[in-house]
Each structure stands twice: as C-alpha cells, then as structure tokens.
C-alpha cells in the first residue's frame, strides 16, 4: 500500500532521514519506534507532504506522491495526527469533525453560499458522519464542548477523530498516547484498535515501548534516520542494536 524508497532528508548539515526503505501492506498495524531525534516525525512529514524529501520516493497505492502538497496527499487517502496536540481550539468537538469532513461530502462555494437543497443534503450527511465518528471514538458526551477546554486525553482522541473524518485508507498516528494517564491510554488504544479492525491501515509512532509492543503486529526501529531493524515485537525486543540504541553501549569494567 505504501512504499518508501531511499528516502533522504537533509536539514543543512544534519541528515534527519538517511536512506529509509519501508513498506506497509494493506491492513497492517505497524509501529515506528526509536529514540528521540531518530527522525520518526520527519518521516511522517515527508510522507504527508509537509516536508519535501531531499531525495527518494514515496509511493502510495502504486502512485508516486513524492513532494505533493499535504492537501492532495490527504485526498489520496493518507491521514495523519500531529505530535503536539493540534486542534481547532475554538470549534466544538462536533464542529471540528464537521469541518474535517471537508473531502466527503465536498460542498462547493456556490452551493454553500446559495444554501441550495443539495448543500443542505450534504450538510446533513456530514453532520451524520460527524456524529457517527464522535460515537465511534467515544466523544459523544463532550461533542458540544470547545476543543480547547477538553481534558488532555479527549484532546488527543479528537485529533484522531479529525484525521478519521477525511476517511483515510492509511492513518499515521504521531505519538497518540503521550502524556495520558493509564485510563486514557487504555481508552486510546481501544480506539486505535477499533479503527484498525474497521479496515484502516495504521502506522503509529510510539515512544512507549510497552504500548507499541502490545499494539502493533510489526515494528520498525529507527535510529539516526536509519532503519536499524524491523520485525515482530518479539524479535525487536531481543535485537541487540535496539537495546543498544535505547540503553546505550554497555561499558565493561576491565
């Protein structure tokens, strides 16, 4: 479904992503892990068009989407969330999701301005879709609260709900459970599982190793912009390079 070939991103002298190859198959739930500064978020930004790669290719469903604008990549079916909790702060939960239902159904400027019957129908359709999404992610009890006054856990879930509104085939989640308490974590993980079970392919960046191991089928480990290993959580746990990357090289006393 997604194929990344030889992806390189330089920021001046710094090489954030150093020749990454990555394949994600339809229906997978893959974790992208690695220590701070490994280049995980940069990879997301390169896939979704927020950054242009120095070289390399991003191929989605057989089409080369390298360097396209973020909105056209979203239209092709790649959705994403952001690491910092990014929301429409002054819109309510429901309004945010309706606004995010921009692609389907698409309401043109003239029909919207003239308030035609077709635009009313589409408005009702998007309201219905937005309500369905709030229920699906468990935000229906807070749907009329402005995003900025939600508790942290709900904010992160709303971020996911906004991404879902664009009906992505591939969803990229950037540290979805950071800063949550235990209860919120299990709720968020349940939501991610439900999204995956409904047929959305997911690539998730996660800092919390235990969460990543329990959630994902396959893990890709990044360090200094390079893939150091990939495989099932079991394999990755045992891998020497991974242990080294996370814990550092052990110095033996002579």
């Amino acid at each position: 479904m997604l194929e990344i070939r030889g992806l390189i991103k330089r920021f001046g002298g710094l090489i954030a992503v150093a020749g990454l190859d990555l394949t994600i198959n339809q229906g997978e739930l893959v974790g992208l892990i690695g220590p701070n500064g490994a280049g995980k978020t940069t990879v997301f930004n390169l896939i979704t068009g927020f950054l242009r790669p120095t070289s390399g290719k991003v191929i989605f469903e057989g089409k080369n989407v390298t360097g396209q604008k973020p909105h056209s990549i979203a239209e092709k079916g790649i959705g994403r969330t952001f690491q910092a909790t990014s929301l429409f702060p002054y819109l309510t939960v429901l309004q945010s999701i309706i606004a995010a239902c921009y692609l389907r159904p698409k309401i043109g400027f003239w029909e919207a301005t003239l308030h035609t019957s077709s635009s009313h129908r589409k408005e009702e359709l998007s309201l219905g879709r937005a309500l369905e999404i709030t229920k699906f992610v468990g935000l229906d009890s807070v749907k009329d609260i402005p995003a900025h006054s939600l508790p942290h856990g709900h904010k992160r879930i709303l971020g996911i709900a906004i991404a879902l509104a664009a009906e992505p085939k591939l969803l990229l989640l950037d540290e979805p459970i950071t800063g949550m308490n235990a209860e919120e974590v299990s709720e968020a993980i349940a939501v991610i599982r439900r999204i995956w079970q409904r047929g959305t392919t997911i690539l998730v960046i996660e800092h919390n190793m235990r969460a990543a191991m329990s959630l994902c089928q396959r893990l890709v480990v990044l360090n200094f912009g390079k893939k150091i290993t990939e495989g099932s959580p079991e394999d990755v746990r045992k891998n020497k390079d991974v242990i080294q990357a996370y814990l550092g090289v052990e110095k033996h006393a002579a």
């Binding site: 604008k69 973020p70 909105h71 002054y90 606004a99 921009y102 301005t113």
Partner: protein, 328 residues
C-alpha cells in the same frame, strides 16, 4: 413548541421592522449633513464587514483602502472614458479589485501571520503610487473631479431617482449595504465559513484533512476585496471627486479598527463598530479634529476592557450582574 414558533415569528418581524425603519429615516432626518454621515457610515459598514470576511480565513488585510481606490478609479474611469452605465461600473469596480486580489493572492498567502498584513500594506502603497504616477489616465495626485452621478432610475409613476439629492444617495447606500450584508451573511452561515474558521485556527491541520488552504484564503481575500472595490465605486459616485490621497494607509487601518472595536468574532461586530466610530467623531467638532486619537483611544479601551468588542457588552454586563447577585 408554542414558544419556539413564537420565537420563530418574532425574529423576522423585528428584522422587517428594522428595515422599514431604515427606509423611513429620510422622513425625519432631513438635514443633508446628517444624511451625509449616514451614507459615510454605510460605506464604513461595507468595508469593515468585508474585511472581517478576510479575517475569518486567518488573514489580516491592510489593503482595503487600496482596494477601495481601485474600485473608485475603475468606476470613475469606466463611466467617464468609456461611457459605461454607472451600475455596470459599480459591479466592474468590484471585479477589478477582486482580480487584483486573485492575482497577488497566491504568492501573498504563502506569507503567514503578521507578514501577510505587512505585504498588504505594500500592496496598497503600490496601488496608490501607480494611481499617482499614471497621470494621463488617473490625473495623478490631482485626482479626478466632476465624476457624473449614478444613472437615474426611473419607473414611471413609481420611482424617480436622479441622485441630485442626498436622500437618493441614502437609499442607494441602504440598498447596497443590505444587499452586500445579506450576501456576506449567507457566506457566514455556509460551510465555506466553517472551513475558513478551521484554517484560521490551525492551517496545517485543515491542510491535513484535505483542505487546499491557499485556495480558500485566496477566495476569502478576493471576495473581501471585491466588496471593498464596490464600496470605493459607490464613494466615487457619491463624492464625485477622488484623489489617491483619499484612500491612504489610514483608511485601511481605520477599517480594521472599526472591526476590532465592534468585535470581529460576530457578524454584527464590524457593523456596530463602523456605526459607533463614524458617529463619535461627528458628535463634536473637537473629536473630529482629533479623529486619529479618538480611534486609537477607542481601540485601546476595547482591547483592555472588552477584547471581544462592543457586541460582547450586553453579555458582559449580564455576567457581571449575575455574579454580583449570586455573591449577595
């Protein structure tokens, strides 16, 4: 159920009453000077409301004065040099300003935040300089005088408007303002507006769900400038003389101040702000002479005490009263 149906009735009735009242105003306000103030207030309302539309998309435009100049000159030149009907010129003036906004829009919206506001200042300056230097066409800094009145509207036995009196211009202004406000309100209540709000609050997030944010912002800028151009055309037909100096940087800033003082979060805000700030300087000669100070003072008072503008005053008072009584 009964309450709701009654409420449904009250709203349209009070709106129609207001509109009827506005149409009856020339019956009891007959002084040409007072009518002039009302007409100028109408122009200010169009400008402040249309700049707010641009603001809802996350762009602060300080080119509105310049766009007004584009409209004023386009209308005057089309009528005087090409002999076009003043009514066609009114619309084409808006189109001219809109086309300029559309052309510069795409490069401009790549510049975010306060830097966008800065480039719009330069845009307005460039427009003013072009008008000043293109003497053969625009009359340079001397401007254009003797701009003809709008073409008369005659419906035999019913209506005879030749625009020789301020009353005719008052009605022209009123119809134009009502028309433009209803278009702006239709947009305000549409999905387009929700998309603009979302872009203003987090453009990258809107982009990530498929919104072509640049296109939407250019759209807002173009529509806003279209109406500023129309306001300029009306101004030139009303005042009958224009100079490039009449649409300087101060106009652009005043328009934004109208909007902020009234309250930019609500549709009514710029309307109320434009009315208040047009009437206050006229209420006393001293205030008129120190207009910039009055505006600056009003702006500061509002930012400190009513950050959401004059429209939020009733709500604020209600809250204050409630707090007082709940403490007692």
């Amino acid at each position: 159920m009964k309450v709701r149906s009654r409420r449904k009735l009250v709203k349209p009735i009070s709106w129609s009453a207001l509109i009827v009242f506005l149409f009856l105003i020339p019956l009891f306000i007959t002084s040409p000077y007072q009518l002039h103030i009302l007409i100028m207030a109408g122009i200010a309302i169009i400008l402040a409301s249309s700049v707010r539309l641009v603001v809802t998309s996350g762009l602060l435009s300080l080119a509105h004065g310049g766009m007004m100049a584009v409209g004023a000159y386009t209308s005057a030149l089309l009528v005087m040099k090409l002999g076009l009907s003043s009514w066609a010129a009114l619309v084409l003036a808006g189109v001219a300003a809109g086309v300029i906004a559309l052309l510069v829009g795409y490069p401009f919206v790549r510049i975010k935040g306060v830097y966008f506001a800065l480039v719009t200042v330069f845009l307005a300056e460039v427009i003013r300089l072009i008008i000043e230097q293109w003497r053969s066409l625009t009359g340079g800094s001397m401007g254009i005088i003797n701009i003809p009145r709008p073409d008369p509207i005659v419906i035999p036995g019913l209506l005879n408007m030749d625009f020789a009196s301020k009353v005719d211009f008052y009605y022209f202004m009123l119809v134009l303002v009502l028309l433009i406000l209803s278009i702006l309100y239709a947009i305000e209540r549409s999905r387009t507006s929700l998309t603009w709000f979302s872009i203003a609050q987090a453009d990258f997030l809107a982009e990530s769900v498929g919104v072509n944010t640049a296109r939407f912002q250019v759209l807002a800028f173009t529509i806003g400038c279209f109406f500023a151009g129309m306001a300029g055309a009306f101004y030139s037909q009303y005042i009958a003389a224009i100079t490039p100096g009449a649409f300087g940087f101060f106009w652009s800033v005043y328009i934004v101040i109208y909007m902020i003082v009234g309250g930019m979060k609500s549709f009514a805000g710029p309307i109320i702000g434009a009315l208040i700030l047009t009437f206050i300087p006229e209420s006393a000669r001293v205030l008129k002479e120190f207009q910039p100070y009055v505006f600056a003072g009003a702006l500061m008072l509002i930012i400190f005490f009513l950050p959401e503008g004059v429209v939020s005053l009733p709500q604020r008072l209600k809250k204050l009263v409630r707090e007082r009584f709940s403490h007692a």
